[in-house]
Protein backbone atom coordinates (compact mmCIF):
# COMPACT_ATOMS: atom_id res chain seq x y z
CA UNK A 1 0.00 0.00 0.00
CA UNK A 2 1.43 3.37 -0.99
CA UNK A 3 1.29 5.87 1.89
CA UNK A 4 2.70 9.27 2.86
CA UNK A 5 5.49 10.38 0.54
CA UNK A 6 4.90 7.27 -1.55
CA UNK A 7 1.88 8.89 -3.20
CA UNK A 8 3.69 11.92 -4.72
CA UNK A 9 6.63 9.65 -5.60
CA UNK A 10 4.30 7.24 -7.42
CA UNK A 11 2.60 10.15 -9.25
CA UNK A 12 6.03 11.53 -10.29
CA UNK A 13 7.15 8.12 -11.53
CA UNK A 14 3.97 7.40 -13.49
CA UNK A 15 3.69 10.87 -15.03
CA UNK A 16 7.38 11.05 -15.94
CA UNK A 17 7.41 7.56 -17.45
CA UNK A 18 4.25 8.15 -19.49
CA UNK A 19 5.62 11.46 -20.83
CA UNK A 20 8.85 9.70 -21.92
CA UNK A 21 6.86 6.89 -23.56
CA UNK A 22 4.58 9.44 -25.25
CA UNK A 23 7.64 11.10 -26.80
CA UNK A 24 8.33 7.92 -28.77
CA UNK A 25 4.81 6.58 -29.31
CA UNK A 26 2.53 8.86 -31.30
CA UNK A 27 -0.38 6.37 -31.25
CA UNK A 28 -3.43 7.11 -29.07
CA UNK A 29 -3.70 7.41 -26.09
CA UNK A 30 0.01 8.31 -25.66
CA UNK A 31 0.28 10.83 -28.51
CA UNK A 32 -1.93 13.44 -26.91
CA UNK A 33 -0.84 12.86 -23.30
CA UNK A 34 1.65 15.75 -23.19
CA UNK A 35 -0.92 18.16 -24.61
CA UNK A 36 -3.54 16.98 -22.10
CA UNK A 37 -1.05 17.35 -19.22
CA UNK A 38 -0.21 20.90 -20.27
CA UNK A 39 -3.94 21.69 -20.44
CA UNK A 40 -4.37 20.34 -16.91
CA UNK A 41 -1.39 22.41 -15.79
CA UNK A 42 -2.94 25.57 -17.30
CA UNK A 43 -6.21 24.93 -15.45
CA UNK A 44 -4.41 24.33 -12.14
CA UNK A 45 -2.19 27.40 -12.73
CA UNK A 46 -5.32 29.51 -13.31
CA UNK A 47 -6.68 28.53 -9.92
CA UNK A 48 -3.35 29.05 -8.15
CA UNK A 49 -3.41 32.65 -9.37
CA UNK A 50 -6.23 33.11 -6.83
CA UNK A 51 -3.87 31.79 -4.14
CA UNK A 52 -1.21 34.25 -5.33
CA UNK A 53 -3.58 37.20 -5.16
CA UNK A 54 -4.83 36.00 -1.75
CA UNK A 55 -1.21 35.81 -0.50
CA UNK A 56 -0.42 39.30 -1.77
CA UNK A 57 -3.55 40.95 -0.37
CA UNK A 58 -3.37 39.15 2.99
CA UNK A 59 0.29 40.10 3.45
CA UNK A 60 -0.28 43.78 2.79
CA UNK A 61 -3.59 44.00 4.68
CA UNK A 62 -1.86 42.51 7.73
CA UNK A 63 1.01 44.97 7.36
CA UNK A 64 -1.46 47.87 7.42
CA UNK A 65 -3.42 46.38 10.34
CA UNK A 66 -0.28 45.85 12.42
CA UNK A 67 1.26 49.14 11.32
CA UNK A 68 4.49 47.33 10.47
CA UNK A 69 7.53 49.18 9.09
CA UNK A 70 6.87 50.84 5.72
CA UNK A 71 3.14 50.03 5.94
CA UNK A 72 2.33 53.10 3.84
CA UNK A 73 3.74 51.29 0.75
CA UNK A 74 1.15 48.58 1.32
CA UNK A 75 -1.63 51.18 0.99
CA UNK A 76 -0.17 52.25 -2.36
CA UNK A 77 -0.07 48.61 -3.48
CA UNK A 78 -3.67 47.90 -2.42
CA UNK A 79 -4.85 51.14 -4.02
CA UNK A 80 -3.10 50.27 -7.30
CA UNK A 81 -4.51 46.74 -7.20
CA UNK A 82 -8.09 47.90 -6.62
CA UNK A 83 -7.78 50.68 -9.20
CA UNK A 84 -6.69 48.37 -12.02
CA UNK A 85 -9.37 45.79 -11.10
CA UNK A 86 -12.14 48.43 -11.08
CA UNK A 87 -10.94 50.04 -14.32
CA UNK A 88 -10.70 46.57 -15.89
CA UNK A 89 -14.30 45.73 -14.92
CA UNK A 90 -15.61 49.09 -16.14
CA UNK A 91 -13.72 48.73 -19.44
CA UNK A 92 -15.13 45.22 -19.93
CA UNK A 93 -18.70 46.44 -19.30
CA UNK A 94 -18.28 49.49 -21.52
CA UNK A 95 -16.26 48.06 -24.44
CA UNK A 96 -17.00 44.35 -24.13
CA UNK A 97 -13.26 43.69 -23.88
CA UNK A 98 -10.87 45.44 -21.52
CA UNK A 99 -7.96 44.90 -23.93
CA UNK A 100 -9.42 47.07 -26.71
CA UNK A 101 -7.36 50.10 -27.66
CA UNK A 102 -8.92 53.21 -26.13
CA UNK A 103 -10.35 51.42 -23.09
CA UNK A 104 -9.48 52.78 -19.64
CA UNK A 105 -7.64 49.55 -18.82
CA UNK A 106 -5.41 49.82 -21.89
CA UNK A 107 -4.89 53.53 -21.20
CA UNK A 108 -3.53 52.65 -17.76
CA UNK A 109 -1.46 49.82 -19.22
CA UNK A 110 0.06 51.99 -21.96
CA UNK A 111 0.64 55.07 -19.83
CA UNK A 112 1.50 53.65 -16.44
CA UNK A 113 2.64 50.03 -16.58
CA UNK A 114 4.74 50.20 -19.78
CA UNK A 115 6.66 53.36 -18.68
CA UNK A 116 7.29 51.75 -15.27
CA UNK A 117 8.59 48.58 -16.96
CA UNK A 118 10.80 50.67 -19.26
CA UNK A 119 12.16 52.59 -16.27
CA UNK A 120 13.15 49.36 -14.52
CA UNK A 121 14.72 48.00 -17.70
CA UNK A 122 16.68 51.19 -18.31
CA UNK A 123 18.25 50.86 -14.85
CA UNK A 124 20.06 47.86 -16.29
CA UNK A 125 22.45 50.15 -18.20
CA UNK A 126 23.69 51.70 -14.94
CA UNK A 127 23.90 48.33 -13.20
CA UNK A 128 25.91 46.92 -16.13
CA UNK A 129 28.34 49.84 -15.84
CA UNK A 130 28.90 49.32 -12.09
CA UNK A 131 29.17 45.51 -12.41
CA UNK A 132 31.54 45.81 -15.39
CA UNK A 133 33.74 48.22 -13.45
CA UNK A 134 34.17 45.64 -10.68
CA UNK A 135 34.53 42.66 -13.04
CA UNK A 136 37.08 44.33 -15.30
CA UNK A 137 39.50 45.49 -12.60
CA UNK A 138 42.81 43.84 -13.58
CA UNK A 139 43.45 42.11 -10.22
CA UNK A 140 44.89 38.89 -11.64
CA UNK A 141 45.68 37.18 -14.96
CA UNK A 142 42.08 35.96 -15.56
CA UNK A 143 40.56 39.38 -14.87
CA UNK A 144 43.16 41.05 -17.14
CA UNK A 145 42.34 38.59 -19.93
CA UNK A 146 38.63 39.34 -19.44
CA UNK A 147 39.33 43.08 -19.52
CA UNK A 148 41.36 42.90 -22.76
CA UNK A 149 38.80 40.65 -24.48
CA UNK A 150 35.91 42.86 -23.38
CA UNK A 151 37.66 45.99 -24.71
CA UNK A 152 38.31 44.31 -28.08
CA UNK A 153 34.70 43.06 -28.34
CA UNK A 154 33.18 46.39 -27.30
CA UNK A 155 35.48 48.29 -29.63
CA UNK A 156 34.77 45.92 -32.52
CA UNK A 157 31.04 46.49 -32.15
CA UNK A 158 31.16 50.28 -32.75
CA UNK A 159 31.49 51.85 -36.23
CA UNK A 160 34.77 53.66 -35.48
CA UNK A 161 36.64 50.33 -35.23
CA UNK A 162 35.89 49.56 -38.88
CA UNK A 163 37.15 53.00 -39.85
CA UNK A 164 40.48 52.30 -38.10
CA UNK A 165 40.87 48.78 -39.47
CA UNK A 166 38.27 46.47 -41.08
CA UNK A 167 40.03 43.56 -39.38
CA UNK A 168 38.90 44.64 -35.88
CA UNK A 169 35.17 43.74 -36.38
CA UNK A 170 36.26 40.47 -38.05
CA UNK A 171 38.43 39.64 -35.04
CA UNK A 172 35.54 40.53 -32.71
CA UNK A 173 33.27 38.16 -34.61
CA UNK A 174 35.92 35.45 -34.37
CA UNK A 175 36.08 35.90 -30.57
CA UNK A 176 32.29 35.64 -30.36
CA UNK A 177 31.87 32.70 -32.71
CA UNK A 178 34.89 30.57 -31.76
CA UNK A 179 36.23 30.85 -28.15
CA UNK A 180 33.05 32.35 -26.70
CA UNK A 181 30.80 29.88 -28.50
CA UNK A 182 33.02 26.93 -27.55
CA UNK A 183 32.81 27.82 -23.84
CA UNK A 184 29.07 28.44 -24.11
CA UNK A 185 28.43 25.09 -25.82
CA UNK A 186 30.47 23.31 -23.17
CA UNK A 187 28.24 24.84 -20.50
CA UNK A 188 25.09 24.00 -22.51
CA UNK A 189 26.11 20.32 -22.86
CA UNK A 190 26.66 20.20 -19.07
CA UNK A 191 23.28 21.85 -18.45
CA UNK A 192 21.48 19.42 -20.79
CA UNK A 193 23.04 16.40 -19.07
CA UNK A 194 22.33 17.94 -15.66
CA UNK A 195 18.68 18.47 -16.64
CA UNK A 196 18.42 14.83 -17.76
CA UNK A 197 20.05 13.80 -14.48
CA UNK A 198 17.61 15.84 -12.33
CA UNK A 199 14.64 14.51 -14.34
CA UNK A 200 15.72 10.88 -14.02
CA UNK A 201 16.48 11.28 -10.30
CA UNK A 202 13.00 12.74 -9.72
CA UNK A 203 11.25 10.11 -11.88
CA UNK A 204 13.09 7.26 -10.16
CA UNK A 205 12.41 8.75 -6.73
CA UNK A 206 16.12 9.13 -5.87
CA UNK A 207 15.77 12.91 -5.67
CA UNK A 208 13.27 13.65 -2.91
CA UNK A 209 14.45 17.02 -1.64
CA UNK A 210 11.50 18.73 -3.35
CA UNK A 211 9.37 16.72 -0.89
CA UNK A 212 11.85 17.46 1.93
Amino acid sequence: MIKGKGIPLAISFLTGTIIIIAFFIPHAPFGSFEEISLRWYSIIAGFTMLLGVDSLLRLHTNKIKRKENHWAYSIVLLFGFLLIVIVGIISTIRYGNAFLTGSGFMYMYDNMIIPLQSTMFSLLAFFIASAAYRAFRARNFDATLLLITAIIVMFGRVPISEMISPKIPIFTEWIMSVPQMAAKRGIIIGIALGAIGVSLRIILGIERSYLS
Binding site: I113, M120, A132, I187, I188, L200, R201
Partner: protein, 397 residues
Protein backbone atom coordinates in the same frame (compact mmCIF):
# COMPACT_ATOMS: atom_id res chain seq x y z
CA UNK B 1 -47.38 37.31 -39.56
CA UNK B 2 -48.26 36.68 -43.22
CA UNK B 3 -45.75 39.26 -44.28
CA UNK B 4 -43.02 37.49 -42.27
CA UNK B 5 -43.94 34.10 -43.74
CA UNK B 6 -43.83 35.53 -47.24
CA UNK B 7 -40.46 37.12 -46.61
CA UNK B 8 -39.12 33.84 -45.19
CA UNK B 9 -40.32 31.85 -48.25
CA UNK B 10 -38.88 34.48 -50.52
CA UNK B 11 -35.47 34.25 -48.83
CA UNK B 12 -35.44 30.44 -49.06
CA UNK B 13 -36.27 30.53 -52.77
CA UNK B 14 -33.55 33.12 -53.40
CA UNK B 15 -30.94 31.04 -51.56
CA UNK B 16 -31.96 27.79 -53.31
CA UNK B 17 -31.94 29.51 -56.68
CA UNK B 18 -28.58 31.15 -56.07
CA UNK B 19 -27.09 27.87 -54.84
CA UNK B 20 -28.27 26.13 -57.98
CA UNK B 21 -26.83 28.94 -60.05
CA UNK B 22 -23.45 28.62 -58.29
CA UNK B 23 -23.46 24.83 -58.63
CA UNK B 24 -24.35 24.93 -62.30
CA UNK B 25 -21.64 27.53 -62.94
CA UNK B 26 -19.09 25.41 -61.07
CA UNK B 27 -20.10 22.27 -62.91
CA UNK B 28 -19.78 24.09 -66.21
CA UNK B 29 -16.37 25.44 -65.26
CA UNK B 30 -15.18 22.11 -63.86
CA UNK B 31 -16.37 20.26 -66.94
CA UNK B 32 -14.34 22.58 -69.11
CA UNK B 33 -11.40 22.21 -66.77
CA UNK B 34 -11.44 18.42 -66.75
CA UNK B 35 -10.73 18.40 -70.46
CA UNK B 36 -7.79 20.77 -69.94
CA UNK B 37 -6.60 18.91 -66.83
CA UNK B 38 -6.39 15.60 -68.56
CA UNK B 39 -3.48 17.00 -70.52
CA UNK B 40 -1.77 18.81 -67.66
CA UNK B 41 -0.59 15.64 -65.90
CA UNK B 42 -1.00 16.88 -62.33
CA UNK B 43 -1.37 13.97 -59.94
CA UNK B 44 -2.05 14.27 -56.23
CA UNK B 45 0.09 11.89 -54.21
CA UNK B 46 -1.69 11.20 -50.96
CA UNK B 47 -0.34 9.13 -48.10
CA UNK B 48 -0.79 8.59 -44.40
CA UNK B 49 1.41 11.10 -42.54
CA UNK B 50 4.27 9.10 -41.06
CA UNK B 51 5.07 9.06 -37.33
CA UNK B 52 1.77 10.57 -36.17
CA UNK B 53 -1.20 9.48 -34.09
CA UNK B 54 -3.30 8.59 -37.15
CA UNK B 55 -5.19 11.85 -37.52
CA UNK B 56 -3.59 13.31 -40.62
CA UNK B 57 -3.01 12.63 -44.30
CA UNK B 58 -0.27 14.29 -46.37
CA UNK B 59 -1.04 15.48 -49.89
CA UNK B 60 1.84 16.21 -52.27
CA UNK B 61 1.97 17.37 -55.89
CA UNK B 62 4.43 18.69 -58.46
CA UNK B 63 3.43 21.91 -60.15
CA UNK B 64 4.16 22.52 -63.83
CA UNK B 65 4.69 25.81 -65.67
CA UNK B 66 1.20 25.83 -67.19
CA UNK B 67 -0.30 26.36 -63.71
CA UNK B 68 1.82 29.33 -62.66
CA UNK B 69 -0.31 32.17 -61.27
CA UNK B 70 -3.18 29.85 -60.37
CA UNK B 71 -4.69 29.53 -56.91
CA UNK B 72 -5.44 26.08 -55.57
CA UNK B 73 -8.29 24.53 -53.58
CA UNK B 74 -8.03 21.02 -52.14
CA UNK B 75 -11.16 18.93 -51.56
CA UNK B 76 -11.62 15.82 -49.46
CA UNK B 77 -14.18 13.19 -50.47
CA UNK B 78 -15.62 10.82 -47.91
CA UNK B 79 -18.61 8.84 -49.18
CA UNK B 80 -21.05 11.42 -50.53
CA UNK B 81 -19.45 14.23 -48.58
CA UNK B 82 -17.19 16.65 -50.49
CA UNK B 83 -15.38 19.15 -48.20
CA UNK B 84 -12.97 21.92 -49.16
CA UNK B 85 -10.00 21.59 -46.77
CA UNK B 86 -7.83 24.35 -48.24
CA UNK B 87 -8.85 27.41 -50.23
CA UNK B 88 -6.86 29.80 -52.42
CA UNK B 89 -3.49 28.24 -51.65
CA UNK B 90 -0.33 28.97 -53.55
CA UNK B 91 0.16 25.69 -55.49
CA UNK B 92 3.95 26.14 -55.51
CA UNK B 93 3.93 25.01 -51.87
CA UNK B 94 3.78 21.42 -53.16
CA UNK B 95 2.52 19.90 -49.89
CA UNK B 96 -0.50 20.15 -47.60
CA UNK B 97 -1.43 18.19 -44.48
CA UNK B 98 -5.05 17.41 -43.71
CA UNK B 99 -5.27 17.25 -39.91
CA UNK B 100 -9.04 16.82 -39.72
CA UNK B 101 -9.40 13.16 -40.58
CA UNK B 102 -10.47 10.15 -38.55
CA UNK B 103 -8.10 7.20 -38.32
CA UNK B 104 -9.04 4.09 -40.27
CA UNK B 105 -11.47 5.86 -42.66
CA UNK B 106 -10.91 5.94 -46.42
CA UNK B 107 -10.63 9.40 -48.00
CA UNK B 108 -10.02 10.62 -51.54
CA UNK B 109 -8.74 14.03 -52.58
CA UNK B 110 -8.83 16.26 -55.64
CA UNK B 111 -7.61 19.78 -56.32
CA UNK B 112 -8.99 22.73 -58.26
CA UNK B 113 -6.63 25.24 -59.88
CA UNK B 114 -8.29 28.62 -60.43
CA UNK B 115 -7.31 31.68 -62.39
CA UNK B 116 -9.86 34.32 -63.46
CA UNK B 117 -12.69 32.28 -65.00
CA UNK B 118 -10.67 29.15 -65.63
CA UNK B 119 -10.92 26.21 -63.24
CA UNK B 120 -8.87 23.06 -63.74
CA UNK B 121 -9.50 19.89 -61.79
CA UNK B 122 -7.25 16.98 -61.01
CA UNK B 123 -8.43 13.39 -60.97
CA UNK B 124 -9.53 11.98 -57.66
CA UNK B 125 -6.65 10.44 -55.75
CA UNK B 126 -6.60 6.82 -54.75
CA UNK B 127 -8.34 6.16 -51.43
CA UNK B 128 -6.10 6.52 -48.41
CA UNK B 129 -6.63 6.06 -44.68
CA UNK B 130 -4.74 7.54 -41.70
CA UNK B 131 -3.18 5.03 -39.34
CA UNK B 132 -1.51 5.81 -36.01
CA UNK B 133 2.06 4.57 -35.58
CA UNK B 134 3.33 2.76 -32.51
CA UNK B 135 6.86 4.16 -32.81
CA UNK B 136 8.10 7.52 -34.09
CA UNK B 137 10.98 6.46 -36.35
CA UNK B 138 12.26 10.05 -36.58
CA UNK B 139 13.10 9.82 -32.87
CA UNK B 140 15.02 6.55 -33.10
CA UNK B 141 18.36 8.31 -32.44
CA UNK B 142 16.91 9.98 -29.33
CA UNK B 143 15.69 6.55 -28.21
CA UNK B 144 19.22 5.13 -28.52
CA UNK B 145 20.64 8.08 -26.55
CA UNK B 146 17.95 7.59 -23.89
CA UNK B 147 18.85 3.90 -23.59
CA UNK B 148 22.52 4.81 -23.28
CA UNK B 149 21.89 7.42 -20.57
CA UNK B 150 19.37 5.26 -18.70
CA UNK B 151 21.81 2.32 -18.91
CA UNK B 152 24.65 4.41 -17.46
CA UNK B 153 22.37 5.65 -14.67
CA UNK B 154 21.13 2.15 -13.86
CA UNK B 155 24.70 0.78 -13.80
CA UNK B 156 26.11 3.42 -11.45
CA UNK B 157 23.06 3.35 -9.18
CA UNK B 158 23.51 -0.42 -9.00
CA UNK B 159 27.19 0.07 -8.08
CA UNK B 160 26.20 2.63 -5.42
CA UNK B 161 23.67 0.19 -3.99
CA UNK B 162 26.40 -2.44 -3.79
CA UNK B 163 28.37 -0.06 -1.60
CA UNK B 164 30.83 1.55 -4.03
CA UNK B 165 31.72 5.08 -2.93
CA UNK B 166 31.93 7.92 -5.45
CA UNK B 167 33.87 11.16 -5.41
CA UNK B 168 32.29 14.53 -6.14
CA UNK B 169 34.51 17.55 -6.68
CA UNK B 170 34.38 20.58 -4.40
CA UNK B 171 31.81 23.22 -5.33
CA UNK B 172 32.70 26.44 -3.53
CA UNK B 173 29.24 28.00 -4.00
CA UNK B 174 27.55 25.11 -2.21
CA UNK B 175 30.12 24.96 0.57
CA UNK B 176 29.26 28.60 1.20
CA UNK B 177 25.55 27.84 1.90
CA UNK B 178 26.20 27.18 5.57
CA UNK B 179 28.49 30.23 5.78
CA UNK B 180 25.77 32.43 4.23
CA UNK B 181 23.03 31.19 6.55
CA UNK B 182 25.37 31.47 9.55
CA UNK B 183 26.36 35.01 8.62
CA UNK B 184 22.72 36.08 8.34
CA UNK B 185 22.00 34.53 11.72
CA UNK B 186 24.92 36.32 13.36
CA UNK B 187 23.82 39.63 11.88
CA UNK B 188 20.21 39.03 12.91
CA UNK B 189 19.09 39.52 9.33
CA UNK B 190 16.74 37.38 7.22
CA UNK B 191 17.69 35.24 4.21
CA UNK B 192 16.16 35.93 0.82
CA UNK B 193 15.71 33.09 -1.66
CA UNK B 194 14.75 33.96 -5.26
CA UNK B 195 13.56 31.27 -7.69
CA UNK B 196 13.62 33.60 -10.68
CA UNK B 197 10.92 34.03 -13.26
CA UNK B 198 10.60 30.43 -14.38
CA UNK B 199 7.62 28.16 -13.96
CA UNK B 200 7.43 24.92 -12.06
CA UNK B 201 7.71 23.08 -15.40
CA UNK B 202 11.24 24.46 -15.91
CA UNK B 203 14.12 22.24 -14.78
CA UNK B 204 16.16 25.17 -13.28
CA UNK B 205 13.14 26.10 -11.13
CA UNK B 206 12.85 22.49 -9.95
CA UNK B 207 16.60 22.47 -9.21
CA UNK B 208 16.15 25.78 -7.34
CA UNK B 209 13.33 24.24 -5.28
CA UNK B 210 15.49 21.26 -4.31
CA UNK B 211 18.23 23.64 -3.08
CA UNK B 212 15.56 25.70 -1.27
CA UNK B 213 14.68 22.63 0.80
CA UNK B 214 18.27 22.38 2.08
CA UNK B 215 18.67 26.12 2.68
CA UNK B 216 15.31 26.34 4.48
CA UNK B 217 16.30 23.42 6.72
CA UNK B 218 19.57 25.17 7.62
CA UNK B 219 17.64 28.41 8.24
CA UNK B 220 15.21 26.55 10.52
CA UNK B 221 18.11 24.96 12.46
CA UNK B 222 19.71 28.40 12.91
CA UNK B 223 16.30 29.95 13.69
CA UNK B 224 16.65 32.47 10.89
CA UNK B 225 13.79 33.94 8.87
CA UNK B 226 13.71 32.95 5.18
CA UNK B 227 11.80 35.02 2.61
CA UNK B 228 10.84 33.60 -0.79
CA UNK B 229 9.24 36.25 -3.02
CA UNK B 230 7.74 34.42 -6.03
CA UNK B 231 6.95 35.30 -9.61
CA UNK B 232 4.55 32.45 -10.32
CA UNK B 233 1.69 31.37 -8.03
CA UNK B 234 2.35 27.63 -8.70
CA UNK B 235 6.01 28.11 -7.78
CA UNK B 236 4.90 30.06 -4.68
CA UNK B 237 2.58 27.24 -3.56
CA UNK B 238 5.32 24.64 -4.16
CA UNK B 239 7.92 26.78 -2.34
CA UNK B 240 5.54 27.18 0.64
CA UNK B 241 5.27 23.40 0.91
CA UNK B 242 9.04 22.90 0.53
CA UNK B 243 9.84 25.47 3.25
CA UNK B 244 7.13 24.12 5.56
CA UNK B 245 8.42 20.55 5.20
CA UNK B 246 12.01 21.72 5.78
CA UNK B 247 11.02 23.52 9.00
CA UNK B 248 9.10 20.44 10.17
CA UNK B 249 12.05 18.18 9.38
CA UNK B 250 14.34 20.49 11.35
CA UNK B 251 11.98 20.18 14.33
CA UNK B 252 10.85 23.80 14.14
CA UNK B 253 7.34 23.75 12.59
CA UNK B 254 6.37 26.62 14.94
CA UNK B 255 9.00 28.91 13.34
CA UNK B 256 7.49 28.52 9.84
CA UNK B 257 5.82 31.70 8.55
CA UNK B 258 3.61 31.09 5.54
CA UNK B 259 3.47 34.80 4.67
CA UNK B 260 7.26 34.86 4.12
CA UNK B 261 6.82 32.83 0.93
CA UNK B 262 4.75 35.37 -0.91
CA UNK B 263 3.54 36.17 -4.40
CA UNK B 264 4.83 39.40 -5.95
CA UNK B 265 3.65 39.68 -9.57
CA UNK B 266 3.89 37.86 -12.87
CA UNK B 267 5.43 40.87 -14.56
CA UNK B 268 9.19 40.55 -15.14
CA UNK B 269 10.23 44.08 -14.19
CA UNK B 270 7.42 44.45 -11.67
CA UNK B 271 8.92 41.42 -9.94
CA UNK B 272 12.40 42.95 -10.11
CA UNK B 273 11.08 46.23 -8.68
CA UNK B 274 9.18 44.47 -5.88
CA UNK B 275 12.13 42.29 -4.88
CA UNK B 276 14.57 45.22 -5.05
CA UNK B 277 12.26 47.18 -2.75
CA UNK B 278 12.16 44.28 -0.29
CA UNK B 279 15.97 44.02 -0.38
CA UNK B 280 16.35 47.71 0.40
CA UNK B 281 13.82 47.60 3.25
CA UNK B 282 14.57 44.22 4.84
CA UNK B 283 18.36 44.24 4.17
CA UNK B 284 18.81 40.42 4.08
CA UNK B 285 22.20 39.09 5.13
CA UNK B 286 22.26 36.39 2.44
CA UNK B 287 20.58 36.25 -0.95
CA UNK B 288 20.20 33.07 -2.99
CA UNK B 289 19.36 33.50 -6.67
CA UNK B 290 18.65 29.96 -7.86
CA UNK B 291 16.44 29.38 -10.89
CA UNK B 292 15.65 30.85 -14.25
CA UNK B 293 16.68 34.48 -14.66
CA UNK B 294 16.64 36.76 -17.66
CA UNK B 295 17.14 40.53 -18.03
CA UNK B 296 16.27 41.17 -14.37
CA UNK B 297 19.26 39.11 -13.15
CA UNK B 298 21.71 42.00 -12.85
CA UNK B 299 19.08 44.40 -11.46
CA UNK B 300 18.53 41.95 -8.59
CA UNK B 301 22.18 40.95 -8.12
CA UNK B 302 23.50 44.53 -8.10
CA UNK B 303 20.87 45.64 -5.59
CA UNK B 304 21.90 42.69 -3.42
CA UNK B 305 25.54 43.72 -3.77
CA UNK B 306 24.71 47.32 -2.82
CA UNK B 307 23.20 46.23 0.53
CA UNK B 308 26.27 44.10 1.31
CA UNK B 309 24.52 40.72 1.31
CA UNK B 310 26.46 37.53 0.63
CA UNK B 311 25.07 36.30 -2.68
CA UNK B 312 25.02 32.76 -4.08
CA UNK B 313 23.60 32.61 -7.60
CA UNK B 314 22.92 29.78 -10.02
CA UNK B 315 21.19 29.61 -13.36
CA UNK B 316 21.19 27.70 -16.62
CA UNK B 317 20.80 30.84 -18.71
CA UNK B 318 24.26 31.24 -20.26
CA UNK B 319 23.55 34.88 -21.17
CA UNK B 320 22.96 35.76 -17.49
CA UNK B 321 25.93 33.86 -16.05
CA UNK B 322 28.48 36.67 -16.64
CA UNK B 323 26.22 39.09 -14.74
CA UNK B 324 26.03 36.75 -11.78
CA UNK B 325 29.78 36.10 -11.88
CA UNK B 326 30.37 39.86 -11.80
CA UNK B 327 27.86 40.75 -9.09
CA UNK B 328 27.65 37.71 -6.78
CA UNK B 329 30.09 36.11 -4.35
CA UNK B 330 29.51 32.58 -5.67
CA UNK B 331 27.94 31.37 -8.89
CA UNK B 332 26.78 27.86 -9.68
CA UNK B 333 27.37 27.45 -13.40
CA UNK B 334 24.76 25.33 -15.17
CA UNK B 335 25.37 21.71 -14.22
CA UNK B 336 26.67 22.67 -10.75
CA UNK B 337 23.21 23.96 -10.00
CA UNK B 338 21.67 20.69 -11.18
CA UNK B 339 24.07 18.75 -8.95
CA UNK B 340 23.50 21.01 -5.93
CA UNK B 341 20.99 18.81 -4.11
CA UNK B 342 23.27 15.78 -4.62
CA UNK B 343 26.25 17.72 -3.27
CA UNK B 344 24.34 18.90 -0.22
CA UNK B 345 22.82 15.47 0.48
CA UNK B 346 25.83 13.23 -0.46
CA UNK B 347 23.57 10.19 -0.69
CA UNK B 348 25.34 7.30 -2.53
CA UNK B 349 22.47 6.67 -4.99
CA UNK B 350 22.37 10.33 -5.96
CA UNK B 351 26.16 10.43 -6.32
CA UNK B 352 25.90 7.43 -8.66
CA UNK B 353 23.68 9.47 -10.99
CA UNK B 354 26.29 12.27 -11.09
CA UNK B 355 29.00 9.76 -12.07
CA UNK B 356 26.68 8.51 -14.84
CA UNK B 357 26.36 12.09 -16.11
CA UNK B 358 30.15 12.39 -16.13
CA UNK B 359 30.48 9.16 -18.11
CA UNK B 360 28.07 10.49 -20.77
CA UNK B 361 30.07 13.72 -20.80
CA UNK B 362 33.27 11.75 -21.45
CA UNK B 363 31.56 9.95 -24.37
CA UNK B 364 30.41 13.31 -25.80
CA UNK B 365 33.92 14.78 -25.48
CA UNK B 366 35.34 11.66 -27.16
CA UNK B 367 32.89 12.02 -30.09
CA UNK B 368 33.75 15.73 -30.35
CA UNK B 369 37.47 14.98 -30.55
CA UNK B 370 36.91 12.32 -33.23
CA UNK B 371 34.71 14.79 -35.14
CA UNK B 372 37.38 17.46 -34.85
CA UNK B 373 40.12 15.15 -36.18
CA UNK B 374 37.94 13.85 -39.03
CA UNK B 375 36.85 17.41 -39.91
CA UNK B 376 40.46 18.61 -39.90
CA UNK B 377 41.71 15.77 -42.11
CA UNK B 378 38.62 15.66 -44.33
CA UNK B 379 37.83 19.33 -44.91
CA UNK B 380 41.17 20.90 -43.90
CA UNK B 381 43.55 18.53 -45.72
CA UNK B 382 40.89 17.44 -48.28
CA UNK B 383 41.40 13.70 -47.79
CA UNK B 384 38.34 12.06 -49.37
CA UNK B 385 38.14 9.09 -46.98
CA UNK B 386 38.05 11.34 -43.91
CA UNK B 387 35.54 13.71 -45.57
CA UNK B 388 33.19 10.74 -46.05
CA UNK B 389 33.78 9.58 -42.48
CA UNK B 390 33.08 13.10 -41.15
CA UNK B 391 29.85 13.38 -43.17
CA UNK B 392 28.81 9.94 -41.91
CA UNK B 393 29.45 10.97 -38.29
CA UNK B 394 27.49 14.21 -38.74
CA UNK B 395 24.61 12.23 -40.33
CA UNK B 396 24.52 9.79 -37.41
CA UNK B 397 24.60 12.55 -34.78
Amino acid sequence: MKRHLLLFLCMISISVFSQELIDSTNVALIDTAITEMQHSGIVLNVCDTPNDDGTSITIKWDINDSLKGYLMDIHRIHGECDTAIALDMNPEKGIHTDNMVHGGTNYMYYALFKKDDIVKKTDNSLPVKAIGQWFNKERFDSFIVLLLIAGAFAWFIYLAKKGKSFYIRKIAGLDAVEEAVGRSTEMGKPIMYLLGIGYVTDIPTIAGLTILGRVAKKAAEYDTRIMVPSYDPVVMTTAQEVVKEAFTEAGRPDAYRKEDTMYITQDQFGYAAGVDGMMMREKPGAIFLQGLFFAESLILAETGYSIGAIQIAGTTETAQLPFFVAACDYTLIGEEMMAASVYLEREPLMLGSIVAEDLIKIIIVFVLIIGFILGLLGHGFKIGFFTDMFEWLVRII
